[in-house]
Amino acid sequence: MSVIDKDRPSPEWIAAMRAKFVTEREIDRSMTNKLQRRASPPYTPLTLEQIVDGLRKLVAAHVPGAFNVKEARWLSGGASKLQVAFTLDWIRPDGSPEQARMVLRLEPAESLHETSRLREFQVVKALQGAMPMPAVYWVDAEAKYLPYPGLVYGFASGVAKPSNAPSNVSGLGTRMPPELRRTLGPQFVRDMVKLHTFDFRGADLSAFDIPQPGKQNAEWAVGWWDRVWEEDSDEQVPLVSLASAWLRKNAPAVEHLSIVHGDFRVGNFLFDEKTEQITAWLDWELSRIGDRHQDLAWSTSRAFGSFAEDGKTFLVSGLVPEEAFFESYEKLSGLKVDMKSLRYYQVFNAYSMVAMTLATSYRVAKNGKSHQDVLLTWLLGVGYMVMDDLRALIEKEL
């Protein structure tokens, strides 16, 4: 039996992966780039000077006049990307001078989500004004100026969790106090509704493929995560093969296509602690055009929620009781929550999380490809709870 060296993939194996798993073109491009770069050296820490140097080149390519990049500093960021905050002293396109606080979001050599900065840029731009979004300025999708692909956001103010709330990494397990739940909960539902009812067809989303209504969206989605598992995993797991087969066999059709965030949960929005208003939705890298039930299922995952003080009421993303969440979503959106589709995407989401945590986290950390290897190693541990969730969900459906 031939053994594939996934740390040094051959061009033939890369071609085989591309042929075997059908997914969107830009996702295929990102994943193929990842494999082609995989045998290259590990990530070595970038200095702020290196990053600012690339940033100046990127800004110069877009800003005709003089400008100054100053006050650059590291942000902790999430589990996936490097983030640097800075101030840009520049003349805006409308001719007005401005000292704007901005954030550069940059890929490491490999990351937890191998995604496209171009897609992220396009979707954030498309949704400006539709829901609380950070401003977005420029993208360097091919690392023409920056050390790795990246994009420049406006700095969004706010916090991802109450200053005094405990949580695990990446905002998981955040406990929101009841008074904050009362104000943030309705906004959480409102923003999901705005996203899922947004008319994306007039927006520039050229890096997204629009599936045909029906099952194509689900087939692309499963193809994406099948490919992640195949390319990144270190060991075969029968339950994962079972889940993949189940997802292909049970794919639901969708008629109303929506922009799907892909990681819509507590920890991925900022809010102002004084006004208790959501100021920006972040982390759009997993977004796609697909079935709203993917977000609905993600938000209602046990991994991202918590129980109310009574110990019985499950709070979606730690904010809204589950029943009230679905009821409010249907009422505001006019879109039905189909329980069969919801259960399908619960399985799908658990499957994608298993691939992220047990396959990608492992592969990236093993090859020393990110600035957060120690965090990715830590995240490996959640994979078993998620896989058990996956098992239980499928078992219920049989």
């Binding site: 270190d234 339950l239 994979g383």
Partner: protein
């Protein structure tokens, strides 16, 4: 189980070297020294952990031989030495496979099972698929319970009390024959 000491230690060393140590105040000599010692200890783990079992088995093997030599040299009058050597020999007899071999054998068996299962899902009839689904899910339930119990201290479980303690789930080490 992918979360094993090898990758944990490697990522801890990297975090210490590339992020933590450069950020330690150089005027705090105690902190600098202790951070370096942490890296030193981790480096020892990384290099020696794969050999630890062989190291201990080798030591026991030589100690048993030494006990025999001692007895032959006239120092074996104490029955407790003979008894301890006997116990040691029995333990050594059972300690044949390296931990790495155990892990590799389990991985190879799982991979073979997975290949069979994939074939059934690709080509098998409905009835076979249904039976294989049930067996696979049952197998997953047992293993994942252990995986979750193993990592309980990470704090991911929403209801940790529902997960049994790992030592109650693992089969006991076979008693000596």
């Amino acid at each position: 189980m992918q979360l094993r000491p090898e990758i944990q230690i490697q990522s801890m060393i990297k975090a210490m070297m590339e992020v933590v140590l450069p950020a330690v105040d150089p005027s705090n000599e105690l902190a600098v020294q202790q951070a370096q010692l942490v890296v030193g200890h981790l480096s020892i783990f990384a290099q020696r952990l794969p050999l630890q079992y062989r190291y201990d088995r080798d030591a026991l093997d030589r100690l048993i031989a030494l006990a025999a030599d001692l007895k032959a040299a006239g120092a074996g009058g104490d029955s407790s030495l003979e008894q301890a050597a006997g116990i040691g020999a029995k333990v050594l007899e059972r300690a044949k496979a390296d931990p790495a071999e155990l892990v590799q054998a389990a991985r190879a068996l799982t991979a073979a099972m997975d290949t069979s299962i994939r074939k059934v899902f690709a080509e098998g009839d409905e009835a076979t698929q249904s039976r294989v689904e049930k067996v696979t899910l049952a197998m997953g339930r047992e293993q994942l319970l252990r995986d979750r119990a193993w990592l309980i201290m990470q704090g991911w479980e929403p209801d940790p009390a529902s997960v049994p303690a790992i030592d109650t789930l693992l089969a006991p080490t076979p008693a000596q024959g």
